[in-house]
Amino acid sequence: MSTPRDMPPRRAPAQAGGQRFGRVIDRQPAGSGPGRRMGTYFVRDDETGATCSFDYSDIVTEGFRTIRTGERVRFLPDPANSGHAIYVIRLDLPDIEKYYE
């Protein structure tokens, strides 16, 4: 059981391979298509400036999987695939009220 005292820092150091923060800078327009080809997104790490790619299945959500260019996300560098991001979480979704305006 973790106690408040051993709470890890919110932002892990870059070299630790922990949580990273960044902004989606580009999206390949290709769709899934009959060959199951999936569109590719690119995220730039806020701190290091490095760019990682990910696909729609790396977006952590139970809902519709898409991300806008310019969106802020949290992600993890893929330890098995350098330059690839996994566990991409969208940070600033609209307020619920907006869906009903």
Binding site: M1, P4, G31, E62, F64, T66, Y87, L91, Y100
Partner: protein
């Protein structure tokens, strides 16, 4: 310099001289601020006080190895960095006062008065008093003499008295294990003194007194309270201390301030009483997965055992469960448990359902604890916070979700910010809440876990509320299971209280569902039977209206005056307005200003339902009718509902039986996800398409466009160059629009502009997201178009393409990796006859998301509803929503049309 100022300056100078050792050690000049004031430059005095304060904090920073260097830090940053090591609220306030005064004096255009300078010095003295009392030679330059454990206890005691507005007047370290502290505070013209002699044991005290010849205690100070505080309580107390000195052990010193035994006895005695029959409750212990942010079960078992385990380890915990699942009883068992008493001697219980929405948490705590604390009312909350921040305290906060000003993230944050004072690293906080509000809200869930990421918006809100996001404590979650072999605690208690009628009710319902007596499936029956047993039939409609409407207005406590005004004097036996005379008392509990009837007169007394579920059921009953729902929504009020109200409403059914004509009548509807349920009005009736637009229908549109063009149907803002052909390269099935086998499948891979034009082509429009959801949920706010029950056989979702439920993201991802979801596709729109809403609208859950007319202009995205073949079951609810760019074309997004009726 005026004579009065002169006198005050001399007094301050004398007090500063008491801290000369610190000045020497840190190379500070305490003369400068006094001299500046005397010369008529209060702004300079403030600047000097600021510099001295910075120096003190830098020393503290280095002493505690705060990460980073204090060099070059602003006073604000230094306070922020050192704050975790300053337990006294008073000292923190003093530091902030100094910071504010310095900011103001440095700002052109502000007049700085002598009084400001004097205040700065006064606040510096508060800081110095605490600084001196820390007993650390590294900080003050004092030769270390006290044993570290004694020094820490002396610091705790000094901090407590500083919190109570005393200042340290004298401090003598008499031996390695004995320290003398004298505190004083002014009350008008009167001074009050407290003398504390802290020692390891009486033999050490006796030695010290022998050496000093007893001179130490020869003081003749007025209003003196004298304590001898012993680490080890055994032994004969010296004669010199026997008469006018209270002798206590350090571990029991707080007993001088709080009557814990009485507090806990009162807690145990109020509803739900702990001596009532209980049933075992099972639970799952969850922690947030740091990668995905989703909750994972780390342990399962008896809830009480899991709770004791967390309590013993000192972690913070959130207990979530449905109403009646036993949260309050578990919490009460925890705070009154002897096992917990060993680790956390001081336990406080707060029933937040008795907190007035307009009342601050501080006022509520003061009101709740004042009868048990031996300090003036104004100091109840500061003293409580001091104890909480200093550790050894457990705060049990019951019904967190019932105390927020509004059921939104903002409302939660407001209360969280108020609680931040208590949520220090050294206190243990155990809170309870409904599942729906805290655990189901992703943003709030992240807030409850300090290791998880928070959005920038959340961080900004935390800062705005004065909460440092980096200091947010981590909470584990104990989720109580809905159904156990014994059923819910509330249900079991009700079944027992109701006698044969209750047993019959629960056995009938129990036979129909998996739960035992009092399971969620029959809780509403039991509650309703209890209500109808207590309330006379003639009064029942009024009771439903008054308390149901009160609930949606956020009113959960009722004074006797309220009851008489709303229900009539008849609700009091013989017109006698008193506790004993209240005819409906069996449904209620006391909620008066003092928390008890005995101390409350009839005028100020109030009652609340004995359990929130009673009023929620009355609210659901009230909302069953169109008139009730209309009355609940006014121009000034857009109420929010709890998930329990929605469940009760769905169980008991709305008033509009399914018509099957796909017409959504004007009226008020329950919409929104479980943690954000709203009542929203639809002004005009509308007919929705029975099915999503099919490929066949869309091809007819394409034919018309090919013949005549689309200009007359196009949206005026549609960018030039758009065509309405589907994005064929993107289609998972290349022949989707060519093979007639797909004619009855939903039209997909078309963008929002095309969906808009198609609707106009058919003389219709796209439904708004509100209309779409209301048409799916009916008047009872059901989760799915067909009801509240999950049924994988009637919906096209990711789970139905797999052989097991895809509860988590990882489960979905693994299944995708195995290729099993590669075959998932949209299906025929009439494949699931049972996937039908109360109004006869088909296939709204799953298959494909549907574009709506609702657009988020700032994002240039449209709201999509209902989930698709690509999403797990949880995302194909009637409330499921997302946004998609208007030019986007996806295999998982289609649409349907709507038509206004006049």
């Amino acid at each position: 310099m005026t004579g009065e100022l002169d006198t005050r300056l001399l007094r301050l100078k004398a007090e500063l001289d008491d801290h000369a050792r610190i000045a020497r050690y840190l190379g500070l000049d305490f003369e400068r601020p006094i001299q500046s004031l005397g010369d008529g430059y209060p702004e300079n005095a403030i600047a000097w006080v600021g510099k001295i304060t910075e120096r003190l904090l830098k020393q503290l920073w280095r002493h505690h190895n705060v990460p980073g260097t204090p060099v070059g830090k602003t006073l604000k940053d230094l306070i922020s960095g050192c704050r975790p090591y300053i337990r006294s609220h008073t000292v923190i306030e003093a530091l902030h006062d100094i910071q504010r005064l310095r900011n103001r004096s440095a700002h052109d255009g502000y007049q700085i008065a002598d009084e400001d300078g004097l205040t700065a010095v006064r606040r510096l003295l508060d800081v110095l008093a605490w600084y001196t009392s820390t007993g650390s030679g590294a900080l003050s330059g004092h030769v270390p003499r006290l044993a570290p454990a004694v020094a820490a206890k002396a610091e705790f005691l000094a901090g407590l008295y500083v919190t109570l507005d005393y200042r340290l007047a004298k401090r003598f370290e008499l031996s390695q294990h004995t320290v003398y502290q004298l505190f004083v505070r002014e009350r008008g013209l009167r001074s009050e003194y407290v003398e504390l002699l802290l020692s390891r044991d009486v033999s050490d005290v006796a030695k010290v007194l022998a050496v000093t010849g007893g001179e130490l205690l020869q003081t003749r100070l007025p209003k003196l309270t004298r304590f001898l505080i012993l680490e080890n309580g055994s032994g004969e107390v010296p004669d010199a201390l026997r008469d006018d000195c209270r002798v206590v052990t350090y571990d029991h010193f707080m007993d001088a301030f709080v009557d814990l035994g009485r507090h806990l006895a009162d807690v145990a005695g109020l509803y739900p009483r702990l001596d009532a029959a209980t049933v075992p409750v099972a639970g799952d212990l969850l922690t947030a997965d740091e990668r995905s942010g989703q909750m994972r079960i780390t342990e399962a078992g008896a809830a009480s055992a899991l709770l004791d385990e967390v309590a013993a380890s000192g972690g913070n915990l959130l207990i979530v469960g449905r109403p009646g699942s036993g949260k309050t009883t578990l919490l009460k068992q925890l705070v009154t448990s002897a096992a917990v008493a060993g680790a956390r001697r001081y336990r406080f219980f707060f029933d937040l359902s008795l907190k007035d929405r307009a009342e601050s948490f501080a006022d509520f705590v003061a009101r709740t604890l004042a009868p048990y604390m031996a300090v003036e009312a104004a100091y109840v909350y500061p003293a409580f916070c001091y104890f909480a921040r200093a550790g050894s305290v457990m705060c049990a906060v019951d019904g967190f979700d019932e105390a927020v000003s509004e059921l939104t993230q903002v409302g939660f944050l407001e209360l969280f910010a108020e609680l931040a004072e208590v949520l220090s690293a050294e206190s243990a906080v155990v809170m309870t809440s409904r599942v729906s509000f805290l655990e189901d809200s992703p943003q709030v869930r992240r807030l409850m876990d300090g290791t998880s990421l928070m959005s920038e918006k959340l961080i900004q809100q935390l800062h705005a509320e004065g909460v440092d996001p980096l200091r947010v404590p981590r909470f584990s979650v104990l989720r109580l299971r809905d159904e156990t072999s014994g059923g819910s605690l509330l249900g079991a208690q009700l079944a027992s209280e109701l006698g044969p009628e209750g047993q019959a009710c629960s056995s009938v319902s129990g036979a129909a569902g998996p739960g035992g007596p009092g399971s969620p499936s029959d809780l509403d029956d039991l509650l309703w039977r209890h209500i109808t047993q207590v309330v006379e039939p003639g009064l029942l409609p009024k009771v439903v209206e008054v308390f149901g409407l009160a609930f949606v207005r956020g009113v959960t406590m009722f004074t006797f005056v309220d009851l008489v005004n709303e229900l009539g004097i008849e609700v009091f036996e013989g017109g006698r307005v008193s506790l004993g005379g209240f005819r409906l008392m069996a449904l209620f509990r006391p909620a008066g200003p003092s928390g008890g009837w005995a101390a409350a007169g009839s005028g100020g007394a109030a009652v609340a339902f004995r359990h929130a579920a009673y009023q929620e059921l009355l609210a659901a009953e009230f909302l069953r009718t169109a008139e009730g729902r209309a009355a609940a929504v006014t121009a000034a009020s857009r109420p929010r509902l709890t998930e329990q109200v929605r469940q009760f409403l769905c169980r008991r059914g709305g008033d509009a039986a399914g018509t099957g004509d796909c017409i959504l009548p004007a009226g008020v509807y329950v919409v929104g996800p479980g943690h954000y349920l709203m009542l929203r009005r639809i002004d005009r009736p509308v007919r929705l398409d029975r099915f999503p637009v099919t490929v066949g229908r869309y091809k007819r549109f394409l034919g018309a466009v090919a013949r005549d063009g689309s200009a007359r149907w196009d949206h005026p803002a549609m960018p030039a160059g758009y065509v309405h052909e589907p994005w064929r390269e993107r289609l998972r099935v290349p022949g989707y629009y060519d093979d007639p086998a797909y004619d009855n499948h939903p039209a997909v891979a078309v963008n929002w502009w095309s969906a808009y034009a198609f609707a106009r082509f058919e003389g219709k429009r796209l439904p708004t997201s509100l209309e779409w959801e209301a048409a799916a949920r009916g008047t009872d706010g059901r989760l799915f178009p067909w009801g509240d029950q999950a049924d994988l056989t009637i919906v096209n979702c990711a789970d139905s393409w797999s052989d097991h439920p895809l509860i988590t993201y990882e489960a979905w991802h693994e299944e995708l990796g195995r290729g099993r979801l590669a075959d998932a596709l949209p299906g025929s729109v009439d494949a699931h006859p049972a996937n039908v809403s109360p109004f006869g609208v088909r296939e709204m859950s799953g298959n494909v998301w549907e574009f709506t007319a609702t657009v988020l202009e700032d994002l240039n995205e449209a709201v999509i509803c209902g989930g698709s073949f690509d999403n797990p079951y949880r995302a194909v609810q009637a409330s499921s929503k997302g946004t998609y760019r208007r030019r986007g074309a996806s295999n998982a997004v289609g649409f349907r049309c709507a038509q206004d009726l006049t």
